[in-house]
Symmetry: D3
Subunit: 223 residues, 6 copies
Amino acid sequence: MTIVVSDVPRVDDEVIEGLGHAGVATVHEAQGRIGLLACRLRPIYPGARIAGSAVTVSVPPGDNWMMHVAIEQLHAGDILVVAPTSPCEDGYFGDLLATSALARGCRGLVIDAGVRDVRDLTGMGFPVWSRAISAQGTVKETLGSVNVPLVCAGELVNGGDVIVADDDGVCVVRRADAAAVLAKAREREANEIAKRERLAAGELGLDIYSMRDRLREKGLRYV
Amino acid sequence: MTIVVSDVPRVDDEVIEGLGHAGVATVHEAQGRIGLLACRLRPIYPGARIAGSAVTVSVPPGDNWMMHVAIEQLHAGDILVVAPTSPCEDGYFGDLLATSALARGCRGLVIDAGVRDVRDLTGMGFPVWSRAISAQGTVKETLGSVNVPLVCAGELVNGGDVIVADDDGVCVVRRADAAAVLAKAREREANEIAKRERLAAGELGLDIYSMRDRLREKGLRYV
Amino acid sequence: MTIVVSDVPRVDDEVIEGLGHAGVATVHEAQGRIGLLACRLRPIYPGARIAGSAVTVSVPPGDNWMMHVAIEQLHAGDILVVAPTSPCEDGYFGDLLATSALARGCRGLVIDAGVRDVRDLTGMGFPVWSRAISAQGTVKETLGSVNVPLVCAGELVNGGDVIVADDDGVCVVRRADAAAVLAKAREREANEIAKRERLAAGELGLDIYSMRDRLREKGLRYV
Amino acid sequence: MTIVVSDVPRVDDEVIEGLGHAGVATVHEAQGRIGLLACRLRPIYPGARIAGSAVTVSVPPGDNWMMHVAIEQLHAGDILVVAPTSPCEDGYFGDLLATSALARGCRGLVIDAGVRDVRDLTGMGFPVWSRAISAQGTVKETLGSVNVPLVCAGELVNGGDVIVADDDGVCVVRRADAAAVLAKAREREANEIAKRERLAAGELGLDIYSMRDRLREKGLRYV
Amino acid sequence: MTIVVSDVPRVDDEVIEGLGHAGVATVHEAQGRIGLLACRLRPIYPGARIAGSAVTVSVPPGDNWMMHVAIEQLHAGDILVVAPTSPCEDGYFGDLLATSALARGCRGLVIDAGVRDVRDLTGMGFPVWSRAISAQGTVKETLGSVNVPLVCAGELVNGGDVIVADDDGVCVVRRADAAAVLAKAREREANEIAKRERLAAGELGLDIYSMRDRLREKGLRYV
Amino acid sequence: MTIVVSDVPRVDDEVIEGLGHAGVATVHEAQGRIGLLACRLRPIYPGARIAGSAVTVSVPPGDNWMMHVAIEQLHAGDILVVAPTSPCEDGYFGDLLATSALARGCRGLVIDAGVRDVRDLTGMGFPVWSRAISAQGTVKETLGSVNVPLVCAGELVNGGDVIVADDDGVCVVRRADAAAVLAKAREREANEIAKRERLAAGELGLDIYSMRDRLREKGLRYV
């Protein structure tokens, strides 16, 4: 029941970098408006933008023992994705764990619970997306699992899935879909550049997207 | 049932500017402690302070089609005020819509739902007060209305009402009351300057406002 | 029923300073993971870190009259701790009250309700931990009490208890325990310096804390 | 600023009765899916189903003085609609006020705050839709207004508007629209009887509403 | 840090019975509108009305081990009052613990967390006021304390304090105040009987409480 | 992207019945404390207790078109499991859809959104576990999917998984695990009968479970 899966395949670095560059909103649209974690997860400081491979951690409420187990499983470029088995806002993670995670090459933390030492984490440039900031301490008594599929903030995440996170929130991309999603995200970005210029010049979306006829058919009236 | 009201009177620019200068807390007090939108609306970045005429937009949950319709109705100096017909945190608005709104002279967005591309919006200096930050995409299938009276975050807003927004939140002033409220806000500001100096010098509110007798009558005891 | 307790003993300044230097997470752990106020209290701006003696203020919902009474009771180095008698998010405190509190040497405000004028408070460097930012005005009709024991954000606070507040939240330390808690906090800090270095060098918590045997006994399996 | 509007026109009794008979879901649909109060308002006991004319009451947080003023304004068949000027869950209303309201012919209470004595209210058959059940007492110090337009649970309500409430929630119908909405509600009910029979016999909505072609066009695939 | 206080004085049975008969709303008013637990605590079935002596239980999140320890401390007529050390909605208590508590003469449970087996508890007539109904299981790994002072749903409760609970919620009365509060509650009840009759006969609170002059002075206008 | 999976294997009826008889709390424990949906899902009336095979329905916010598509996929004994793609409390389901679902042999509905016509649904004996009761109407414009894996109230559900629901909430059991979970649930029930008798006779859990030594080792002190 409590297991650690050590051997999880990851996506190629350049695909991950490409998804990180595209950002959450674009990736989410590119894969058909799926995969967004609940917006209760917020960054502890503005401006961070990361992508990496998920190392998932299922933890009991109020118990952060498995965080230590998970850190050993981190490869350079990974992101910790932590979900408690029942809702909890305790502070599972602080500057000591962040120091250890950074030493393993971890790019950040996504947690549907709380974190603490946020001034230190900010100073270290270790980005976190969490449900709460809380100094509430935890115990080390009960086991959980690492790299099992879990639901974090309403979305299924598997070990090795790609996580993209920025000021807009957090999005998960299935490992097998990552390359295809990146291709679509790039198309989308290219397409938006042209539109942005026309919109900036004062052209209306109503005209660029040819919406006027359909609006009239649906019954829109101007008075 | 789905209409666009095109011809909405606005308040004079100098009144609007005066209200913006006074800020939300002062305007709210000056008009008798009414008109404040629910404090779940928060700015996406600190420091913005705007005032303008409301262009109201009633939208279905998860559908941002009407945003494009609304942008055509913007005059320079307007503020978009958006409310979904049932509670929704989806990201109705991002950098493309902001580019278009800015091109029309729009001063900002007040929305009882979500926005995305907040890093871009911050970079553009386009201020937003929203209930959530969410990359969750929307569809374009169902109509709504523009410049009809609507309830946004618990307050009635009409097209052409004055909106004041800053770090303290968002306040609405009826079009017909705007000049009178400005006059009272200015009185209030003048009055506060003197009080601030006395308080800074160590005088107590208990004495400045002559509260001691009334406190005693009400039964306050010092032990 | 509505009283002001004027003569409240405080803890020595150097103990208070020491606790402030240790910060919320360390103090909370040092006293056995107790005393943390609910994490719904958040700072109005990042980076503030204070400690001081509590002047408690029990206030009715929507009524800030007692704030003026409380300010007279402030000694240099005190922190206002305010709790409404039923849940309320109104803006009890703004720049005028902050000016007055600062003139009395107050170090900050902890309030399980709302504050306003947050741009001014930020400019003045007057730190606040609150449940909400709201411009909603209050009346001055009903009394409360000052320096009585009260529950603020889920924790009991007495006048004269030590309050520590930083980006991680707010913690209360009983007056009688303050010196002992400081001693433990310092031990903890000393101990963490060594650990931080080892973790930064890549050593694992699993080894530093000798967890591997106990994990195996509890049934953890690697697959 | 604090006024009582005494002379509010009401809708004819038989229209009100008809709307009450149709119920909230049907009335809400019949008027184009508008007018539903937020679903945080719940009945204190199941099974009540009422309709009546709104007597609106705007109250300060934690202060129920205006309830006594409002009761004098009740006509037989009216419903009290109460909204605090900022969010509050205190118990504004209990068995004494209900006794008084019943003596005036009041049909029930809709309140975006709390009530108490719910066992007594249930025993009296006095229905209430509220945001909370709370024994928290209130004071009588600050005025409000009666029969002014107000926003209750997210919807604008005017004195004399028709309120319909049942186990599904609470809906408001503008006074001027009541007769037309009733006509549409009756059409809707007639229409539903036939459909209910066909559905009960095992016919599918897909066929009754001829949805299959449109689903295919939109891209639905069966696998 | 984890202790069980065995020898807690209780209040006389007849005082407790009297407070239970008065009910939550009356007791809360009689002691000056204090002592009400947050209204998020709701009964699992309607109609229960109990009073008894508190046996307090401080529990870790997601861990119900101490419930077994607490049950041994129950005297006939006691009520369990349980608070987790950080917010938790897990199901700490079900039919087996209720069977055991009933065998010790326990009158009910007040818990700022979750319970399960609510159909069985209802069938047994074992009343519970809880924050949630949840089947989520807990572990038995970490200790807590019994009969220490704790904050439950926002109110301080000591072992031996009197708890009153009914459909309106839960109220705590300090052991030392119980007799005096009962006396005031009885006065209040007597006083209300007369008022209820006058109100039922159609007399207005405005006249019974002589409010008209004061309303006029405060500025109420009828239009 | 929008698909209907028609051919989903179900678990044998007698296994399903056994799980339903065991109930949510027992099944949840029997499978190792996993699979419980978030406790925000509550039954619309007390006393219902069902088990059946999941037909999953992924729906857009505010759009119930797919409900009609899903009903065609129902086999006798199935349970509809509905999740919106972003948080929504609208009323997706009412008496007409329930009539149709009942005609197909559907045993109930689990929905992380709202339902309406709850008086009718109660009268028909059609049980629903929902996040909200809301009459808010929906549109029929945008497609979703049927019998795809989805996350409902925080848990992954696949078409054909077993759903167990009662007054304690809702639990999902993987199709492949159902028989084994039933076996463990029966063991658990047998084991509890004996314990219940001993507890009812006044024996303590401390003794039945031999907890005293371990409590002492962990440091529990009686004072």
